[in-house]
Symmetry: C2
Subunit: 224 residues, 2 copies
C-alpha cells in the first residue's frame, strides 16, 4: 500500500515542464512581465523554487518556452488562403491577435532572435514569400521586412497596453493623452507629428496594420 500510494501520488504530483510553462503563461497573462515570479510560480504549483529549477534552466529559458507555446499554437492553425498574399495577411492577423491577447509575447520574441519561436514565424512567412515567386536575391529582405513589421507593430501595441495599464487608464484615454501631448509639440520642430496627432485616437489598429502588410506586399511583388 505504501508503495502503491507512493507511486500514485508521485504520478499525480510530480512536476512536469508543461505544467510549469502553463502556469507561467497564466501568471504572465495576469500580471505582465513582472507577474512571473518564482515565488508566485512556486505557490501556484504548490512547490518550492528549487523544484522548478530542476525542470528549467532559468527565468529566461522559462519565458522563451512560454512564448514558444503561444507561437506554436498560433502557427498550428494553418489558414489555407486563396493566394500567398491572402495567407500572409491571415498569418499576420493571427500573430497580431495572439500578441494582443498575450502582450508579454512581443518582448519575449524580440529578445529571442534565432530561437525556436522566431523560427516558426520566419518559416511560415518564408514559405509564402517563396511561393510568391520572389527572386532568391530579394527573398531575405522580403521576409525580413514582413517579419520586422509584424513584430514591430505588435510590440508597440503591447507596449501601449502595458503603459496604459501602468497609468491606470483605458486604452482610449491613453491614446487621447498621447494625442494631446503631440498637439502641444513645437510647431516648428514637429509639423508632421502635430498634423497627425488628431487622427491618433480614432485609428483602427487592425486596419492600419493590414494596410502596412499590403504596402509591403506591393513592394515585394514590385521587386519580383
Amino acid at each position: 500500500m505504501k508503495q502503491r500510494n507512493d507511486t500514485r501520488s508521485r504520478r499525480q504530483r510530480s512536476l512536469t515542464r508543461e505544467q510549469i510553462i502553463d502556469a507561467s503563461i497564466r501568471l504572465l497573462d495576469e500580471g505582465g512581465e513582472g507577474g512571473l515570479t518564482f515565488q508566485a510560480l512556486s505557490k501556484l504549483l504548490a512547490t518550492g523554487p528549487g523544484a522548478i529549477y530542476w525542470h528549467v534552466a532559468d527565468k529566461s529559458d522559462l519565458v522563451t518556452a512560454a512564448c514558444d507555446e503561444i507561437i506554436a499554437r498560433t502557427m498550428e492553425a494553418k489558414p489555407a488562403g486563396a493566394s500567398p498574399q491572402e495567407t500572409i495577411r491571415a498569418l499576420a492577423l493571427d500573430l497580431f491577435d495572439a500578441i494582443d491577447a498575450h502582450p508579454w509575447v512581443g518582448a519575449a520574441l524580440m529578445s529571442a532572435p534565432g530561437q525556436l519561436p522566431m523560427v516558426r514565424i520566419f518559416e511560415r512567412i518564408g514559405q509564402q514569400v517563396r511561393s510568391l515567386g520572389v527572386s532568391a536575391e530579394h527573398e531575405w529582405s522580403a521576409v525580413s521586412a514582413l517579419l520586422n513589421y509584424i513584430l514591430g507593430v505588435a510590440g508597440q501595441n503591447a507596449a501601449n497596453a502595458k503603459l496604459a495599464a501602468v497609468q491606470g487608464l483605458e486604452r482610449a484615454s491613453f491614446l487621447g493623452e498621447v494625442s494631446a501631448a503631440w498637439s502641444a509639440l513645437d510647431p516648428e520642430s514637429y509639423p508632421f507629428t502635430r498634423s497627425v496627432a488628431a487622427q491618433l485616437p480614432a485609428h483602427d489598429d487592425r486596419k492600419d496594420y493590414l494596410d502596412g502588410i499590403d504596402l509591403l506586399l506591393r513592394g515585394i511583388v514590385a521587386s519580383s
Copy 2:
C-alpha cells in the same frame, strides 16, 4: 569665506539630471540593460540612491531619458540627402549605427511608445514621407512600416549582440551556431529556414538592411 566656499562646492558638486543621464549611458554601454543599477550609479556619482531619486522619477524614467539623449544626438545630424529616398536611407543608417553602438536603446525605444524618443524618429521619417508625395490615406501606414522595420532590425541586431555576449561568443561564431541549429531542423517542417541557413553567417547586415528600406520605399511610391 564660508559662504564663498559653500557656493563654490555646491555648484561643483551639486547633482544635475544631465550628469545622472550621462553616467547612466556610460553604465548601460558598459554592462547592458543590467549594468544600470542605482547602486552602481550612486558609486559613479559619489552619492546615495536617495539623491538620484530627487532628480528622476524611477528607473524607467531614467532609461527613457538616456535613450532620448542618444536619439536626440542621432537625429540632430540632419543629412541633406539629394532626394527624400536618400534622406530616409541616411536616416535609417544613422539609427542602425546608433543602436549598434548602444544596443540597450533598441529595447528602450520599444517600451516607450508615443514618448519623446519615438516621436523624434517618427517626425523625421514623416517629413520625408510627406515630401515623397504620399497621399494622406497611405501616409500613416508608410511611416509606420518604415519605423517598425527600422526598429525591428535594429532591435534584433541588438538582441543578437546581447545573446552572443551572454554566451561569451564572437558575433561570427554565434551566427555560426544559429546557422548550424537551423540546418539541423526537420526538413519536412522547416524547408525554408533550412534552405537559407547556410547564408546566415555570411550576411552583410547593413546591405540587407538597406535592401529592406529600398523594398519599403518601392512599395510606398507604388501606392503613390
